[in-house]
């Protein structure tokens, strides 16, 4: 055998396998594990207290997905069911306002590599009907109460302010019991949720009137209320900014209405100036006069009626028409 042939023989028998082996080494480098990919699914919108299904998936180009893990990144805390599976569920918690719940899916492949993907669930506050029955009871001895204007509102509305001039709507309510303008003013206010009137006619001592009102649930809801004491010049039983938004269904609360003076008419108690039955005159303007002649043109708490029995000789009232402090009891019950 010639030496050169030996050389070739060496090359083919020894070097080629070595080369192949070397190539094999390079081939092993190319085979290193490929990372998986995770898909947490499409963004979703869900109302509170409904169940959301998170449908996740994972892919691995060179192997298999061996585990799934769901976790929450942000938002009101939820309880994930089957958090270790590709499909998980949870119930959107009760919330006061819309918010985003961000969930993260982590997938792991058979070589221990992981990948994550996030999905946003927009949780919507379910607008719940908030129905109230408002009962106004006359707890005076001798003052009919006119139908009560009832306003449910957010902060920012007020039917009157102590020390500020009464609106014409309040003046008409306090001098004659006419709620029309007071209610239309309220309905024109963007902070008013709803307005209504309790009773269709004046109700006497011991009597009551009721109105049902309905708003969407609102923890910040306020109640304002006004009803004229008919046997006065311009007195009204009033409540302003009473918090009524936190009642559970079936719960009740009670408040009392202090007597206010609208400040729009002088308290003469004389014939021809009082809207109620104690004034038997036929004066056309005894219910309402646009003239503002009180000692000052602004709302205060009322200082009470004097009456003829106590020495106000021109008064058509007697001691039975007096009151102390409050004139109405307001029972507020949430029915829905």
């Amino acid at each position: 055998m010639k030496p050169i042939k030996r050389y070739y023989k060496f090359l083919w028998t020894c070097m080629l396998p070595a080369l192949l082996a070397l190539t094999g080494c390079f081939h092993d480098e190319d085979d290193e594990n490929m990372s998986p990919t995770a898909d947490a699914g499409q963004a979703q919108t869900a109302t509170e207290l409904t169940t959301v299904t998170l449908t996740g998936s994972g892919t691995d180009s060179d192997g298999t997905i061996t585990s799934y893990e769901w976790m929450q990144l942000s938002g009101s805390t939820v309880s994930l069911v089957n958090a270790g599976m590709s499909t998980s569920t949870f119930v959107v918690p009760a919330i006061d306002a819309n918010e985003d719940l961000v969930m993260r899916l982590t997938v792991t492949d058979n070589d221990g590599a992981t990948a994550t993907n996030d999905v946003t669930i927009t949780a919507e506050n379910l607008a719940t009907s908030y129905d109230l029955t408002i009962k106004v009871t006359n707890i005076t001895n001798g003052q009919p109460l006119t139908p009560a204007a009832i306003v449910l509102h957010k902060s920012g509305y007020s039917g009157w302010r102590i020390g500020s001039a009464a609106s014409v709507g309040l003046e008409k309510l306090a001098e004659g019991g006419d709620t029309t303008d007071f209610i239309s003013d309220a309905n024109a206010d963007t902070n008013v949720l709803t307005a209504g009137v309790a009773g269709s006619a004046p109700f006497g001592p011991g009597g009551s009137s009721t109105v049902d009102v309905s708003i969407m649930e609102n923890k910040d809801a306020l109640l304002s209320l006004a009803s004229m004491l008919a046997n006065t010049n311009d007195a009204f039983a009033g409540n302003s900014q009473v918090a009524v938004g936190a009642l559970s269904v079936g719960d009740s609360m009670t408040v009392y209405s202090h007597v206010h003076d609208a400040g729009t008419e002088l308290n003469t108690e004389s014939t021809g100036t009082l809207a109620g039955p104690a004034d038997t005159s036929a004066a056309a303007d005894k219910a309402f006069s646009a003239v503002r002649d009180d000692i000052h043109d602004f709302v205060t708490l009322h200082n009470g009626v004097v009456t003829a029995d106590d020495g106000l000789t021109a008064s058509v009232l007697n001691e039975s028409h007096r009151w102390l402090n409050v004139a109405a009891r307001i029972d507020i019950t949430r029915t829905q």
């Binding site: 001691e319 102390l324 009891r329």
Partner: protein
Amino acid sequence: MHHSIKKNLLAIGVTLGLATTASAADWEVKITNLTHGNHFTPLLVTAHDHDTHLFKVGDAASTAIEHMAECGHLDPLLATTEVGAADADTIANPAEGVLAPGATTTAMITTNDTHLSVVAMVLPTNDGFLGLESQHIPAEAGSYTYWVNAYDAGTEENDEILAASGSTCTYTDSGMIPGAPGGDAGTGATGVSSADGNTMIHVHRGVLGDDSLTDGKSDLVNTIHRWQNPVAKVVVTVTP
């Protein structure tokens, strides 16, 4: 005894590691007469659940409330199922007599209940009473203050005529004021008003009075016996 039995039961519950939902609380109930010239008849101070009402402003008075408001009698109220006999959570007459203007009395109550009512007649009136109406008392330790108005039971006309000294008051009598403990009322009045305009329990319109001790419409004195609300202050100190 009632008190210590409850305490012992509670102690057993704790020893056994049981969860107890209701436990007795001590309420120190301090009642002050805020008026300038009116007395309170013996007070009734009673704890009860949220469904119980001794009276309700706007509703008709029960006969037991009528007894209390017209004569200051507590026995009819103590015979009702709502109140029951005097015990750890119902204290009758803590002041041992009338409570004078400016005076304070204290009733100690031990109760599992959540609500408090306090009533007594205001003298001199025909059927005026002070009333704390089924007030919810927090379970947490602390002092809580309540201001109390005077109500008219709506059961007797406010004639402001004082009954003769030594006469016995009954709620069915001719409807006179049973007494003026201050000794500062008059006699010989012709009477103030006709029947009540409101026969339900309502906020008392106050007394009229006049400036004569021997005649006029009222036996009451207009510079002494009028009041403004509130007429009483109730401070409840809770010790769970």
